[in-house]
Amino acid sequence: MKLHKFNIIVLLLIAPFLLLSCEDFVEVEAPDNKLVQDVVFSSDATAKSAMIGIYNQLFLAAFSNGERSSVTLLAGLSADNFRNINTTNIVRMEFEQNQLVPDNDSNLDIWSSAYNTIYMTNAMLEGLHNSEAITPELEMQLEGEARFVRAFTYFYLVNLYGDVPLILSTNYRENQLAVRNPSADVYIQILEDLQIAMDLLPIDYINEERTQVNKFAATALLARVYLYLEDWEQAETLSSQVINETSKYELLSEVNDVFLANSKEAIWQISPIGGGGLITNTNEGSIFIIDPIFSFFAAIQLEEEFVEVFDETDRRYINWIGYNEGIDAYFAFKYKIWSSTEFPIEEYSMVLRLAEQYLIRAEARARKGDLSGGIEDLDVIRERAGIALVSESNPGIVQQELLDKIFEERRKELFAEWGHRWLDLKRTGRAEEVLGANNPLWESTDLWYPIPAEERMKNPNLSQNSGY
C-alpha cells in the first residue's frame, strides 16, 4: 500500500506539469522561406528587400505590367489609338467599344492588382512606423518610396474609376467595408504622399538603375498631378525642376534609344527582372510587336487614323511605328524586343520620362498665357522628332491652337504608354467629342470604368458608377 500511495503522488505531480508544458511547446518559428512582418522590419537589409519586392511585383501586377490587363493596353483601347485584332476576345472588345460591363475580368484585374499594390505600400509604411530598428536615413528613403508607389497607384485608380475607397491601412476588417471617398480626397492624399516623398527621397538614384525612385520621380509625378488638377503654376515649377536636372536627364536624339534600360530620358522604369528572369523582354514588347513570322499571335494594331496623324518624316513614325505586311497592320514599336530570355536585359518598361515633363510645362505655360514659353517647350519635342518647329512655322499661334498642338503632340509622343491618350481626353473634356464621333454606342457615363461586380458583391458599401 505504501507503494500505491507513492505512485499516485508521482502521478499527481507529473500530470499538471504535462499540461503546463503544452502551452509553449506548440509555438513554432516561422519557416525559412517566410518572414514574419515584425522580422522584415527588424533590420535594414530585410526592410530594403520589402521595398525591392514592391518594385518586383509591379512587373507582375496586372495594372502596371504592360500586359493584357494593364493600364497601358486597356486605357489605350478605351481611347482611339489601338485596334483589337482578336475580335473574339470579348473582354478587350468591351474596352475598345467603351461598352464595359461590371464583370469584365480585365477591369477586375486592374482594380485588384492596384489595391494589392496599395496593400504592400501600406504594410511597408506600417512596418516602418512600428519599427525602431531601421536606420533613420534608410527609413526616410523607404517611406518616400512607399508613399510614391501608393500615390502613383491611386493616381490611376482615381483617373479610371473616379471616387474610390481610400485605403491607408492593412486592417482587413475595416477595409472590407470601405466606402468610396470623393476623388478630391484621394487627390489630397496623393499630393500629401508625393510632397512627403519629395522631401524624403534622395536626389540620386540608389544604384545605377532607374528602377528605384529618387526625388525627381516624385517631382515628375507631382508635376503631372498638378497639371491634372489644373494648378498651372505648380505644374510649371515642378516640371522645371526635373527639366533643369540636366546632369541626370536629357532628351535622347536617337529615339530608338529612349526605351532602353536606364536610358537618360528615363525618370522611372520597371524592370522585367521582377518576373524572375524567365523572360527578359518587356510585356509591351510582346503584346504590341507584330512579329513578321508569328503574326498570328498579334493582338493589337494601331488605328490607321492615328498613324495618319504623323508626318512621314517624323522620327517617331519611322522608328516607333512598325508595319506588318502579312496582315497589313501598323503596330507600336517603341519596344523592339518581342521575346527574349537573354541577359543583360536590354529594355525596361517606361513609366515616367523627360519628354512628358516638357509637354507638361508646355501645356502649363500655354494655359497661363505664356505662349512663347509653351512653344519653346513644345518645339523641344518636335525638334527631337524631326518635324517642323511651331516657332518657325506658326509663331503667331493663338492659345487654343497651341493647346491643341500640345494635345496632338502628347498623343504622338506618349502613345502606347500608360493610357496617356485616354486620360488626356478625359481631363481636357474632349473624350465625348473625339470618341463619341466614331462610336454610336458612346455614352457620357463611359468616361468612368465600372466598379467590378465581384467587388460590390463582397462589399455592399461600394456604390456603382452611373451608367452601369
Partner: protein, 998 residues
C-alpha cells in the same frame, strides 16, 4: 523557443527516471512473491499436441506461466517439460487458440488445440491507445487482417482494402505504381479537399497522410505515403470511425483513423517463413471504338451532311492520311504487360520472455505503357519484444524501413488526345526509333506523343520506428511510454531530352528536380490503471502527446544541357531556374484520458477526452477540448434473453456521441508573412493573416446493434451514423480593397454525413474437411451541405449548393435534339443569349448510392479458395458520343448514321462541337455505372503435412491469385471505378506463388 526543448527533455528524463526507479523498487519487492511455488518437487510432464483432426502439430510453444522454462513440440507433436503441480501450462501456436491447463498430479497431458476462428470474444482489436474486443467495444471499429490482404499484388496497403470495410471508400489513384489512392471514411467532411485525409497511425506512430508532391506522371494524385510498407508484414488494419473510437485522437480524428499494426514475433520457438510470387498485370478494359473503315465513313458523312468540301486543313484524315491504315491506339498506349514479382523472407523466434521478428521483402512491377519502366521496392522490418520474467516490464521495438525506386515514362497517359486519335493516323515513330514529326507536321500537328522520351525517377526512403516501454508498478497500475521517430525522403529527377520535342521548337535538354523530406518524432507517456470492485471493472488511461513534424522541400530546373547524357548533372546545365526551397514545422501537444467502466461485463460506459494544442492555429486559438461518451449493453447476457431466445448467442446495443476536430490546414496561416518575390532580392506579403482561426469541429453520433446466432456462427451488425462538420475552415472571401481575395477563417457552414452500415458473417459449413465462411458488408452513405451562410457571395458559389451533397455537378438542362439543326440543345434559363453558369439549373449527385463487398472463404482438406466481390451502385458519365469531328468515337455513334436514336446528327461543324460540349454538361451522358467486380480470388493448396515434414518444412503452400479479374457493369466507359473520367483504376493481375515455412 529553446525553452521548449528544455522542457521536453525534462519530461522525457522524468519519465525515464520514474520508470527505472520503479523497476528497481519492484524488483526488490517482487522477489518475495515467487517463493511459495518452489516448495513442491518438480517432475517431468509428457504429452502430444494435436489439432482437431488428430494430426500432430509441430512447433507448439509449451511453457509454464510466470516461469522461464519452456519447450517446443517436435515433429510428432511430442513435448516434455519439468513442472510442479499447481503450475499453469500454456500451449500456444499461431492460428490456434492458446490452451492453459493447471497441472494436477498427472505425468501425461495430451492436448487438442482448436483452430482460431475469429470469434467475438478472443480477438483483440487495436483501438489505438488501448485494446478492446469485439464483444466489449463501445465504438465502431472495422478490421481487416493479414489473410485478406497479404496476397494482393499492390504497392500500397490501402489498395488492398477496397470494398472490404463498411464506411470506407477507396478509389485507386490509377495504374501507375505508387499513385496515391483516395480514402474517405464516412464521406467528405470538409469543403477543402485537403481537409479530408484521415489520420494514419503505424505501430502507434502517426505519419502524414498527405500525398507526396511529384512532378512525374504521379503529379495528379501524388505519391502514396504508405508505399514503403510491406503489405505482407501487416498483421491487421483497423479503421476507427465513430466518436467513441476517434475522440481520443482529438483534433486529428475527424476524418477517421487508420491504424496499421505490423506483425510481431512468435511466442516460442524459431521459424523461417518464405513466400514468392510472380505474375503479370494488364489493363483490364478497352473502350469500344470505331475501326478505320467505320471512322472514315462517319467522317465523310459529316462533310456530306454539312455540305462542306473536305480539304487538307479541315480533313487531313480524309485527304492527307492513308485510308487503309489502322492503329488500335489503346493497344499501342497501354496494351503492354507488366510483370510483378514479390518475395518475402521472415525469420522469427522467441522464448518466454523475448520474441523477435526480422523480415525483408522485394517487390517489382513493370509497366503497361510502351517502354522499359518499372517500380521496385525493398523493405526491411524488425520487431523485438521483451518482457521481464515477472511480466511487469515490457519493451517493444519496431522499425519498418522501405525504399523504392519508381521509374516512370514521362508523358504517356490516358487522355482523350491519345485514345481518341483517328485510327488511320500516321505512325508515332520513325524507323530509326525517333518521334515522327514529318507525317504529323504535314497536317499541321505536333506528334501526339511529344515528350515520349521524357522519364522520371523517384526514389524514396522511409523509416517508421517506435519503442514502447511499459512497467507495471502495482497490480493494475501501469506506466507506458512510446517514443516514435519517422522520416521520409523523396528525390525526383525528371528528364526532358531535346529529342522528345519538335525539332522546330526552341527548347533545350532540360531537367526538373524535386526533393521532399518529412521527419517527425513523437513521445507519448501514459498511465493505465485497472481495478475491479465486485462486478464493477474500471480501466483508466491518462497520457500526453508531444509531436513535431518537419518538412523541407526543394526544387529547381536545369536547362541547356549540351547532350542528353548529361541531363540531371546540374553542373552541366547552362541555366538553373525556378529554384525554390521551403520548410514547415508543425508541433502538436495534447493530454488525453479514457475511463472505461463495466458492470459484470454487461453494461459498458466509455468516456474519452483530449485537450489538444496545434501550432497550425493562431496564438489565440491553439487549444481545444474534444470528448466522447460511448455505451453498450450486452442484452444477450440477461437471463430473460437467454431463456426466451436460446438461439441468440450474442446481442449488444451500443451508441456513442462526441466531438473530434480537424487541423489539416496549411501551416503558418496565422502569420503575417513575407516571401521572396520571383524577382531577385525582394520580399512581398503573401496573404492576409487571421490570428483567430480555429479547428473544424466534427460531431459524431452513432448507434448500433450487434447480434450473434447459434453460438456466433452467424453474426450481424447494423450501425447508423450521423456526423456533422461545422465551423468549416474556408478562405473567407474579401473584397480586393483589403489587398487580397480571402482570408482563412471559420464559417458556420455545416456538412452532414449520415448513413447505414451493415455487416454479416456466417460460418455456413463447418465440417471436419469442409469449411465455408462468408462475410458481407454494405454501406449506404448520404452527404449533404446543410448550411453555408452567404454561399452566393463566396468563391464556392458555383461549386456547392446548400441542401445537396458536396460531390455534385452543376449542369445545363438538356432539351433534346434541336429539330432544326439536329444537334443537342440545352436551355438558356435566363434567356440572356449566353450559356453560362447562370444556366446551371440541374444538380447531379456524383456520390455512390451504396457500396460494399462480399467475401467467401472455402476450404476442403488441403485446398482453400478465397474470393472477394466488390460492388458499387452509382452513376457515371460517358465522354465520346458525338461523331464527325477529327477524333474517334464509341461504336455507339453508328446508331446515329441513319438519323435515328438519341445521338445528334453526324457533323464536323463548329456548331455541332459546341452542342456536344454543352451536352456533356447535362444529364444526357449520365448512365448507370454500377458494377460488381471480382476484386480478388486466391486458390491455395497446402502440401500434406507428412510430406512437408519429411523434407523438414513446417508447411508448404502453392497458390494462385487473381486481382480485378472480372468486372460486370452496364457502363461503357473505360472503368466504372472512375465513372467521370477516361481512366483505369486498377490493373488485372494474375500471380502464382509458393509459400514455405520452416
Amino acid at each position: 523557443m529553446k525553452n521548449n526543448y528544455g522542457r521536453f527533455k525534462i519530461i522525457v528524463l522524468i519519465s525515464l527516471i520514474l520508470l527505472l526507479f520503479a523497476v528497481t523498487l519492484q524488483a526488490s519487492a517482487g522477489n518475495t512473491l515467487y517463493v511459495k511455488g518452489l516448495k513442491a518437487p518438480q517432475k517431468e510432464i509428457k504429452g502430444a499436441v494435436t489439432d482437431q483432426q488428430g494430426s500432430p502439430i509441430a512447433g507448439v510453444a509449451v511453457y509454464i506461466r510466470g516461469k522461464s522454462s519452456g519447450t517446443v513440440t517436435n515433429l510428432d507433436g511430442q513435448y516434455s517439460i519439468r513442472a510442479v503441480p499447481g503450475d499453469t501450462l500454456v500451449f500456444s501456436y499461431l492460428g490456434f487458440q492458446p490452451v492453459e491447463i493447471v497441472l494436477e498430479q498427472q505425468d501425461q497431458l495430451n492436448i487438442q488445440m482448436e483452430e482460431d476462428i475469429s470469434s467475438l470474444g478472443e480477438v483483440e482489436i487495436n483501438a489505438g491507445y488501448y485494446n478492446t474486443t469485439r464483444r466489449e467495444s463501445t465504438g465502431n471499429i472495422s478490421r481487416v487482417t493479414a489473410e485478406e490482404i497479404e496476397l494482393q499484388p499492390v504497392v500500397s496497403p490501402l489498395q488492398a482494402l477496397q470494398g472490404r470495410m463498411a464506411g470506407v471508400e477507396i478509389t485507386s489513384g490509377g495504374v501507375s505504381p505508387g499513385a496515391a489512392s483516395t480514402i474517405r471514411i464516412r464521406g467528405t467532411n470538409s469543403l477543402r479537399t485537403e481537409g479530408n485525409y484521415p489520420l494514419y497511425i503505424i505501430d502507434g506512430v502517426p505519419i502524414s497522410s498527405i500525398p507526396i508532391e511529384s512532378s512525374s506522371l504521379l503529379s495528379q494524385p501524388g505519391i502514396d505515403p504508405l508505399n514503403n510498407l510491406d503489405v505482407n508484414n501487416i498483421e491487421s488494419i483497423e479503421v476507427l470511425k465513430d466518436a467513441d473510437a476517434t475522440a481520443i485522437y482529438g483534433s486529428r480524428g475527424a476524418n477517421g483513423v487508420v491504424l496499421i499494426t505490423t506483425r510481431k514475433g512468435a511466442d516460442m520457438g524459431t521459424s523461417l517463413e518464405t513466400r514468392l510470387y510472380h505474375g503479370v498485370a494488364t489493363v483490364p478494359a478497352r473502350l469500344d471504338l470505331l475501326n478505320t473503315e467505320q471512322y472514315l465513313d462517319i467522317r465523310r458523312r459529316a462533310f456530306e451532311n454539312d455540305g462542306v468540301e473536305p480539304t487538307e486543313n479541315n480533313a487531313y484524315d480524309l485527304v492527307l492520311w492513308e485510308q487503309d491504315r489502322y492503329t488500335d491506339w489503346q493497344e499501342f498506349l497501354f496494351g503492354g504487360t507488366a510483370e510483378t514479382t514479390n518475395a518475402n523472407v521472415t525469420f522469427s523466434g522467441g522464448s518466454e520472455t523475448t520474441s523477435f521478428r526480422l523480415g525483408g521483402s522485394y517487390y517489382n512491377q513493370g509497366t503497361v505503357f510502351p517502354g522499359d519502366y518499372n517500380y521496385r521496392k525493398v523493405t526491411g522490418n524488425i520487431n523485438l519484444n521483451h518482457q521481464s520474467r515477472n511480466n511487469k516490464f515490457n519493451l517493444n521495438l519496431s522499425a519498418n524501413y522501405g525504399t523504392d525506386l519508381n521509374n516512370l515514362v514521362g508523358n504517356v497517359s490516358f487522355n482523350a488526345n491519345t485514345i481518341f486519335l483517328p485510327p488511320n493516323a500516321p505512325a508515332i515513330f520513325n524507323e530509326d526509333g525517333g518521334l515522327n514529326w514529318e507525317d504529323w507536321g504535314a497536317a499541321g500537328l505536333d506528334n501526339p506523343l511529344q515528350g515520349f522520351f521524357n522519364n522520371s525517377t523517384t526514389q524514396t526512403n522511409n523509416l517508421i520506428s517506435n519503442i514502447g516501454l511499459s512497467y507495471e508498478f502495482l497490480p493494475g497500475l501501469q506506466f507506458k511510454t512510446s517514443l516514435g521517430y519517422t522520416f521520409y525522403n523523396s528525390a525526383e529527377l525528371r528528364n526532358q531530352p531535346r529529342r522528345s520535342y519538335n525539332p522546330a521548337d526552341a527548347t533545350t535538354n532540360r531537367s526538373s528536380h524535386l526533393s521532399a523530406n518529412r521527419s517527425s518524432w513523437i513521445v507519448e507517456p501514459q498511465f493505465i490503471y485497472k481495478e475491479s470492485i465486485d462486478k464493477l471493472h474500471i480501466q483508466a488511461l491518462i497520457g500526453a502527446t508531444f509531436q513535431e513534424n518537419s518538412n523541407l522541400r526543394e526544387s529547381f530546373q536545369g536547362s541547356g544541357y549540351a547532350s542528353e547524357a548529361l541531363i540531371g548533372n546540374i553542373g552541366a546545365a547552362e541555366d538553373i531556374i525556378n529554384a525554390s526551397r521551403g520548410n514547415t514545422e508543425y508541433r502538436y501537444a495534447a493530454v488525453f484520458s479514457r475511463l472505461g467502466f463495466d458492470w459484470d461485463k454487461k453494461y459498458f460506459i466509455n468516456l474519452t477526452g483530449r485537450r489538444d494544442g496545434s501550432s497550425r492555429f493562431g496564438p489565440n486559438n491553439r487549444f481545444a477540448n474534444f470528448g466522447a461518451v460511448g455505451a453498450a449493453w450486452i442484452f444477450s447476457d440477461e437471463n430473460f434473453m437467454q431463456s426466451t431466445f436460446p438461439f441468440l448467442s450474442f446481442g449488444k446495443f451500443r451508441g456513442s456521441y462526441g466531438t473530434t476536430g480537424n487541423d489539416q490546414i496549411g501551416d503558418y496561416g496565422y502569420l503575417d508573412a513575407y516571401e521572396a518575390t520571383r524577382g531577385p532580392g525582394g520580399l512581398y506579403p503573401t496573404g492576409l493573416a487571421n490570428p483567430d482561426y480555429s479547428w473544424e469541429i466534427n460531431k459524431k453520433l452513432e448507434g448500433g446493434i450487434e447480434l450473434g446466432f447459434f453460438k456466433d456462427r452467424f453474426r450481424f451488425s447494423l450501425s447508423r451514423y450521423q456526423n456533422r462538420s461545422s465551423n468549416q475552415l474556408v478562405g473567407y472571401p474579401l473584397p480586393y480593397t483589403t489587398g487580397f481575395t480571402s482570408v482563412q477563417a471559420n464559417l458556420p457552414a455545416t456538412v452532414e454525413n449520415s448513413g447505414w452500415e451493415i455487416t454479416f458473417n456466417s460460418l455456413n459449413i463447418d465440417h471436419d474437411n469442409f469449411r465455408w465462411e462468408t462475410s458481407f458488408n454494405i454501406s449506404l452513405p448520404k452527404n449533404e451541405l446543410i448550411s453555408y451562410p452567404d454561399i452566393e457571395q463566396s468563391s464556392y458559389a458555383n461549386t456547392y449548393r446548400v441542401g445537396h451533397p458536396l460531390n455534385i455537378s452543376l449542369l445545363y438542362e438538356y432539351t433534346g435534339l434541336d429539330p432544326e439543326t439536329g444537334f443537342y440543345a440545352i436551355r438558356d434559363v435566363n434567356e440572356d443569349g449566353r450559356y453560362d453558369y447562370q444556366d446551371w439549373v440541374v444538380i447531379h449527385d456524383r456520390n455512390r448510392e451504396f457500396y460494399g463487398g462480399l467475401s467467401n472463404n472455402l476450404s476442403y482438406k488441403n485446398i482453400s479458395l478465397q474470393f472477394f466481390l466488390e460492388f458499387v451502385k452509382q452513376e457515371g458519365s460517358l465522354t465520346s458520343f458525338s461523331a464527325g469531328t477529327i477524333s474517334n468515337s464509341m461504336v455507339e455513334v453508328l446508331s446515329s448514321v441513319d438519323g435515328q436514336g438519341p445521338l445528334q446528327q453526324i457533323s464536323q461543324s463548329l456548331a455541332s462541337r459546341t452542342a456536344s460540349r454543352n451536352a456533356l454538361n447535362t444529364i444526357f451522358p449520365i448512365r448507370d455505372a454500377s458494377y460488381v467486380r471480382l476484386k480478388s480470388l486466391s486458390l491455395a493448396y497446402n502440401l500434406p503435412r507428412n510430406l512437408t515434414e519429411t523434407i523438414g518444412m513446417r508447411n508448404a503452400k502453392v497458390f494462385l491469385h487473381g486481382q480485378n479479374l472480372i468486372t460486370a457493369s452496364s457502363y461503357d466507359g473505360l472503368d466504372p471505378e472512375n465513372p467521370y473520367s477516361v481512366a483505369i483504376g486498377n490493373l488485372r493481375t494474375i500471380t502464382g506463388g509458393l509459400e514455405i515455412n520452416f
